[in-house]
């Protein structure tokens, strides 16, 4: 009971502020609503007992990535005429396609019977004691079975960092 109240609370916040995020005219408002969505998602992670991801979501997404976004929004001039913000016919097309995909995927979710349990809507969850506070398990898995992907991810981050610095650097004229 309490579980579903918490879930619907955070899910409502996430969906509403996501919808506001893609409709606001001011880019800073969009960024703030995206931060709200990400925080609500962090709450859902906590409700799913993923404590480490809850913290990582707040520190990395909200504290790192979104601050970067807000920096760039403030660096870049954005006074665009109102009519040019979004295009009308693309809006309708996007709504239509999104609705079609929603109906399709929704039918698949409701009718799925192939996985263990009795379909996705009434699938029994793992018992609560089967997944204790699992940060330690996550670390063991990350540095054991997934050590190679972890190292590759660190190389990816290094490459991205160098690429970002090179691209954002002021170009000096070659002698």
């Amino acid at each position: 009971m309490l579980d579903s109240v918490i879930f619907y609370f955070f899910a409502g916040i996430a969906v509403i502020s996501a919808a506001l995020m893609i409709t606001r005219r001011n880019a800073i408002h969009s960024a703030v609503f995206l931060i709200t969505t990400l925080l609500a998602t962090a709450g859902i992670f906590l409700q799913l007992r993923a404590e480490f991801l809850f913290i990582a979501q707040i520190i990395l997404y909200v504290g790192g990535i979104m601050v970067l976004f807000i920096f760039v929004i403030m660096l870049v001039r954005l006074d665009v005429p109102l009519a040019r913000i979004r295009s009308r016919w693309r809006q309708w097309t996007a709504m239509l396609v999104a609705f079609a995909v929603f109906v399709q995927a929704g039918i698949v979710i409701v009718l799925a019977h192939g996985i263990p349990g009795q379909g996705l809507l009434i699938l029994n969850s793992a018992p609560a004691d089967k997944l204790p506070p699992n940060t330690e398990d996550l670390a063991k898995s990350l540095f054991g079975a997934y050590l190679l992907p972890f190292e590759i991810a660190s190389v990816l981050l290094l490459v991205a960092m160098i690429g970002a610095v090179v691209m954002a650097k002021k170009r000096t004229e070659a002698p």
């Binding site: 579980d3 579903s4 879930f7 899910a11 996430a14 969906v15 919808a19 995020m21 893609i22 880019a27 969009s30 960024a31 995206l34 969505t37 990400l38 859902i44 799913l48 993923a50 991801l53 990582a56 979501q57 997404y61 790192g64 990535i65 970067l68 976004f69 760039v72 660096l75 870049v76 001039r77 665009v80 040019r84 913000i85 979004r86 693309r90 809006q91 996007a94 709504m95 999104a98 929603f102 979710i109 996705l120 809507l121 699938l123 969850s125 609560a128 089967k130 997944l131 996550l138 898995s141 992907p149 991810a153 990816l156 981050l157 490459v159 991205a160 960092m161 690429g163 970002a164 691209m167």
Partner: protein, 100 residues
């Protein structure tokens, strides 16, 4: 406990809202933010299945996706700054340097 379908529907909704944002907005920074929203929706899926199968592998994948999102944001915003310096705009339909 909550059935997993609820999490899948939440994830689906967030993903579609992000997709609508990518398609309709012209400001490239907001397009990038919509992509972050899509990655976030995928994370909800992974964590929900990780919870329901009692296996932490899904959480490991979600961590990798967060790392990916950080790399993507850094490179994307670097490109944005370089482009703005050259062309003084961030609108997607004015980015036609490679068109002829």
């Amino acid at each position: 406990m909550m059935p997993i379908g609820h999490y899948l529907f939440l994830s689906l909704l967030l993903l579609l809202i992000g997709a609508i944002g990518v398609i309709t907005r012209r400001n490239v920074i907001i397009v990038l933010m919509s992509i972050e929203l899509i990655l976030n929706a995928v994370n909800i899926n992974l964590v929900a299945f990780s919870r329901y199968y009692g296996d932490v592998a899904g959480q490991v994948f979600a961590l990798f996706i967060i790392a990916d999102a950080a790399a993507e944001a850094a490179v994307g915003l670097g490109i944005m700054i370089a482009f703005f310096r050259n062309r003084e705009t961030v609108l997607a339909d004015e980015m036609d340097l490679l068109k002829w």
